[in-house]
Structures are given as C-alpha cells and as structure tokens.
Amino acid sequence: MNKSAAPVSEGEIAEIIKQAKAQLKPVEIKGGGTRDGLGCPVKTATTLSLAKLNGITLYEPGALTLVAKAGTTLKAVEKTLRAKNQRLAFEPMDHRALYGTKGEPTIGGVVACNISGSRRIQGGACRDSLIGVRFVDGNGDILKNGGRVMKNVTGLDLVKLLCGSHGTLGVITEVAFKVLPAPEREATLAIANLNTSQAIDVLSAALGSPFEITGAAHLPHNKGGALTALRVEGFDSQVEYRLSRLRKGVAAGLETRIIKGSQHDKLWRSIRDVEPFKNTSRCVWRLSVKPGDAPAIQQQISTMFDAKYVFDWGGGLIWIEIDDIENARANEIRKILSNFGGHATLVRAPAKTRLKVPVFQPAAPGIAALSSSIRKKFDPVGILNPGRMVVREPA
C-alpha cells in the first residue's frame, strides 16, 4: 500500500481498509487538510486522501436536496447552490483563518467534524441538515444510512452518529443534505459598547422575538469598542421591517447602526471563522454552554488569567484565546465549566499540548463506555484515525 493513497472510488477505499485491517496498519483520513489542527494529533504511516473522490452526484433544487461525494470541495458545493439561489443552512465555519492552513475544505470533512457556523442557532447544525451518508467502516464494508429524502425514520439514525465522529467510525464517501433557499438580503443591527452581561441580555431578548435572528454575536475586543450584532434575513421589505422592530424593541435606547452589503458579509465571515484570533500563536478554546451562563463564565475565567473572547450563538458559543501555559489552562477551564454544564474543546494548540490534554470534553463514564463500545463495533482493530478523539481505543 502507498504511503499516501488517493482512491477514486468507494470500492477502492474498501480494499485499502481491508488491507489495512489485515495488516493492522492504521490510516489517517484526509479531506482538504484545512482542519488538520482539529482533534488530537494522529500519527500513522499511511494517509488516505478523499480528494479524488469528488463530484456532485445529485442536485434537485425543487426538492431542496443535494448529494455529493466526500472529496467535493465546499467551494464547489456552495457555488452549485448559489447558482440556484440556495445554500447550506448551517453556514460551515472555515478553519483556515484559525489554523493558517492552505487548500480547500471538503464537504466530507465538514460532515466528519460536524462543522457549523453562526446560523446554527436558527438553521441547525451540520448534523441537522445531513440526511444521508455512505461510508466504509473499519472492516472495509461499504455501508449506507439515511438516504436522499428529508424525512426518514427508517431504522437507527447512524447519519447523526457518523457526523462529528472525526473519521473514527468510518471513511465517509458520500453525503446528502437538505438545503435551503438563500434569502434575498441579509443585514445586521449593530449595538455599540455593551458589556457582556448587557449584550447577552439583548441577544437573548432578540432570540426570543419572532424576527428569526440568524446571527447573534458579541465582540468585546472589537476595534473602536465592543460590538453586539444581530443578523436578520429575508426579502427586502422583511429585512427593513425586522431591523426597525428590533431597533425600537430590544435595542431601544441603545447606540445602534445598520450594517449592510460587503461590510456585513465581512463581519459575519469574521465571526464565523473567529478571525479576531487569527495570526496569533495563542491557544483557542471553544465552549458550548447555556447562553445565559456566558457572562458568569467569562467573569470566573477573567479572575484567573488573561484571555480574549468572542461570543456567538447568543452567548451559547464562547471562543477564548489564551496563552499556551499550563496545558492551555485545561484544568481550570474545565473546572469552571463544571459549575455550569456544557463542553469545552481545545480547538487550537500545539500538537504536544493536544497530546497531553483531552481536546474534547471528557464524557461521563457511562457515555464514554458506550462511545468506546460503538467505536469497537465500527472499527474493531482501531485503524481509522486512531487517537483522534481519544475515545478509548479497542485493546
């Protein structure tokens, strides 16, 4: 077997995995390589690139359905959808800013890591849009689950299980999505100079309004003062209406302005991709919490060490940038989080740190045991991205 294989078919992948299993030789699965820093480092002699397994296999705009092979670039998928005024609902984040990586993200990589963006609060996560997968498990068996229709409860939902499994349950070869119409227009109501607690209150009130907020972020370290952003979408008149209702309602008495056009797109790309933390060598944590806990979590962390923050999802998603000392402060951060609930992922840190600290939130014993037995069923000898999630490896 090659050190680096780039198969062009599912059948070929199955053969490679069968051999790898027979020889007990683990493989690292690669899409576009743009998210190489995500998860625990994997060291294998062989990499399996999905880059050549690409192409959109089916696109029916009238049925809101798109099916693509795993190695298809996200760019190609988005371009195809844009031509028909449609889009992926979950606004996948691009990790190239955070990691400084090159290349093109693949749709398979997006699924393997369950990558979502700011619109997650309204349009759901990647796993919510995903309606079918084909994959090759650790035995080299070609399997499928779900399909190409958006309502499907036939059998156990392994689609969700594969999504976010970081290549440890199977080599994902094809993915099917429910897609959505793109809005005519998007615009943002920006509010200046709120502290985190005020900001979360405003975001929360807005998310409790009927105006279908699709982005709710707070940037405390914004140049020119803290910025709190509420994104609305729809057809022209609807966007105007929603902005004015928000302005007079949840933002009454606050200093506001409207952001539109390319400024608007730039702002949300920057939030989605956490651009405030690009080009630094500091560590980055990603916390998913109950939105209302965000101010207290920030407060507790700030009393212990210096950090920078980006809040998305109305406060439910906290990005934290800190120095790489004491294992990226993993113990402290997870200890603070345990007072609240939620999970903390070490998204950016040097490989040596990610080998010492669990990158993903350690699961409760019952769930960890379940996860490890599931892994063993899909990949009995542990050859698929071993160590990536530090779900205990099969003995």
Binding site: L156, G164, S165, A363, A364
Partner: protein, 483 residues
Amino acid sequence: MSMIAMPTPDQKILDQRQEIISALQAALPAGRVIHDAAEIRAYECDALTAYRCPPLGVVLPATTQEVSAVMKVCHQLGVPVVPRGAGTSLAGGSLPTADSIILGTARLNATLEIDTANRFIRVQTGVTNLSVTGAVEADGFFYAPDPSSQLACAIAGNIAMNSGGAHCLKYGVTTNNLMGVKMVMADGEIVDIGGAHLDSEGYDILGLICGSEGQLGIVTEAILRILPKPEGARPVLIGYDSAETAGQCVAEIIKSGVLPVAIEYMDRLCIKVTDEFSGAGYPDVEALLIVEVEGSEAEIKEQLAKVVKIANKLKPVELRESASAQESALIWKGRKSAFGAIGQISDYMCLDGTVPVSQLPFVLRRISELSKKYKLEVANVFHAGDGNMHPLILYDANKPGDLETAEKFGAEVLRLCVEVGGCLTGEHGVGIEKRDLMGNQYSAADMEVQMNVKDCFDPGWLLNPSKVFPLEASEARRSGAAK
C-alpha cells in the same frame, strides 16, 4: 391470519409471571404495577389495532429512579420490556408480546423547568406534545414538532419515533428540536446526554437515541428547544385538476425561494370525506394544496402574493386565500381531522413512505393503479413539501382476507417508495409494520451495523425486541446466541 408474525413467547418467562410481578411490586411504591387481566387489556395494542397481545404486566413508574428499579429487575430476570408513551404509534411500536412488561410513561408527567431566556423546556417524557406548547404559550413560545396526534401522543413516543408534523418543512422534526435527554439503560444505569447547550462533542448519542423506537433505553426526561411564536400565519387553499400540476406547483414554490411553514396535500377522496366530517368547505378537486406562510401582516401578504402568482400560472381550479382567523382555522381543521374522518367511514392502514418531491406525481399515479389491482380504495393526505406521503388504504376488518390484501398493497407501495429513491417511513417509524420490509431499503450489512449499535446499549436484547429489524435478522441476538 394477518401477515406480520411475532416470535413465540418465552415459556420460561410466562411460567415465572408471579415472581416477576412480585419482584416489580417489591421494587416500586404501591400502585405502580398493573397485573389484573382486565386492566392489562388497555395496553394490548397501540394505534395499529389489527395487532393485539396482552403483556405479562404493566408498570407505570413516576420517577427516573423508579424506571431504573424496573429495569434492574427486568435485566436480572431476563424479561423483555416494551416502552410505551400514549400508545398512538401507527407502526405497532408499543405492541407488547405475552412475555414482556409494558413500561408506560403515564405518570412521568411533570414539567421540570421552563427557561425562555435560554429557549428550552425540561419535561418528564410522559407529558403530551401539545402540553409542551401549552406550558410556554403564555410567554410567546411554542414547541415546533406538531404531529396530528399532538393532543394525545407523549414526548416519549415523539422522541422514540422522531415524529414530525405539518410544520416541519420549516422547523424540522423532533431530532432537530431535542437538546438533551435523561435515559435509563437496559441494566438500570441512568445517563444524561446533551443539555441546555448545543451540540455536545463526542459521538452524537443524542442523535442516535432520537428515532430509536425504544431499542436503546428508556427516555425519562427531555430538554426541548422552544421557539418564539411567529407574529401571524395564514394558509391559502389551491385546487388543481391533476396530481401532476399540484406536484409541479410544490416544486415551483420551493424553487422560488419562499419557504412556507407547511405544504399539505389531499386528494379527491380525502377532500370529500374530511369535508363532510369537518365542514371545512373544501372545493371538489383532484388535488388540494394547503400552503401556509408566517410572519407579520406585511410579510404574510408579500409571501402569499408570491405563492399565488406561482399557483395561478398553473391554472388552478380554485384558489382561496384565508381572509380571517376563523377561515384559517377551518382550513386546518379539515386537514388535522383527516385521519379521524377517514376512520369514521372505514378501517384504514396508514402508510408513511417518503419519496423525492419530483417523484410525487408518478407515485400517486402508481398508487391509483395499484388501488384498482387490489380493489381497495386509497385516500391520500400528506406533507408534500418534504415528500412524506400518507396513503390511507381503506379496508374492512370484518371481511376475511381484506387486511391481508391491504398489507400486500401497502408493501408494494412502500417498495415503490424505496425504488424511486425514498424510504419506508418518514415519521411513523418501522415498528412491526415495516420490519419485514427493511431489507428493501437496507442491505444485510447495513442492518447488521445498526444491530451492532443496539448491542452496545442492550446486549441482552431485552428492549423492545422483535421490532424494527426483520425477525430472521435479529433471531440470533434475541435468542442470546450472538456474542
């Protein structure tokens, strides 16, 4: 004799009935165990009433700890457990076997926490679907998944079946609105999965549990996402003289960029029967669409104008925009009472296959051909926006052979759904009803990997066995032969 077989009950368990009941009584507060033959009868079937079997006994625990106690007893004594919510499953999901205990959620009916600032509600799973919206309505919120059975069905059953409703085109089904659960494992261990935060890292066990039909554990609590109520909503009725044109209209609306909250479809027979039943005032047409949009008054007007323009291009026989809240309610009353109305005139079997939207007209045509072949009438009523069909096959339960014919007819329709790129069930679940058709959609290996997952949760196959997977496929596991 009907066609769906259930395995022979385990004689050893039947012989131990008294001990099992006593052990359960000892583990639970008084009054939680039902074992009187007459009282047990109430649990002998769900809404797939053609199949009935009284269970060994019934337990109605009131707390997660009590559920855990039940599971420990059953685990120790090797007794199968069939979880049951409100028993409205159309797939036989909560049908007992003679050697099983029914674990009902009727007493798990507390609302535990309402948090509108963080947009979730935490409930015990025995609460009804509608009561969840009821609990948050005054605060301006609602729980989105709205199965037509929402007055009766429990959140427990909704989670187990990953239920949908008329409004899921926009809001998604149960799995898209479920944030966390508390679950009792087959051996009685209690686990928490997910929470008031989004998207836990690690394997998506929550996603796996939703739609698992009681195969993986007993879900006792749920954290559900609640959404702010839209300012308003309004439907428009559009009638066409052919299914093709109606199908085309659906695709054109979706392509135009308007995303209605609901696009419902009814055919002539269904229109006639529901109209007589509900007085909805439906027009007499071949195909009727109900398209609903939401928003402020101006937003509604603008969206409806777009929908109406598309609809008019296709020359509808009838087009009626609702002009008042009463008219809207009446339009929906007909649709929501469709199953009940058909039930008044005949026994029926409700299919639930999903097909790609582009295949709807073809599949409808095939169904009407098959209807002639099998000499059984069919009424069609379904969620057209997502291709989730509900052909109702009318039959006479008292006429020997009729049910069998209906089942054969149904199986042929479901195979057709799979052939055109769809699936066996869009929201009702496999249960026993579609169990033996699973091989049409999935290869042996595809099913094996699903059963492998069940092994991880329920190694002894005591949770709702003999459902979902064809009996031959699960035989070794159920009889304990699998490692």
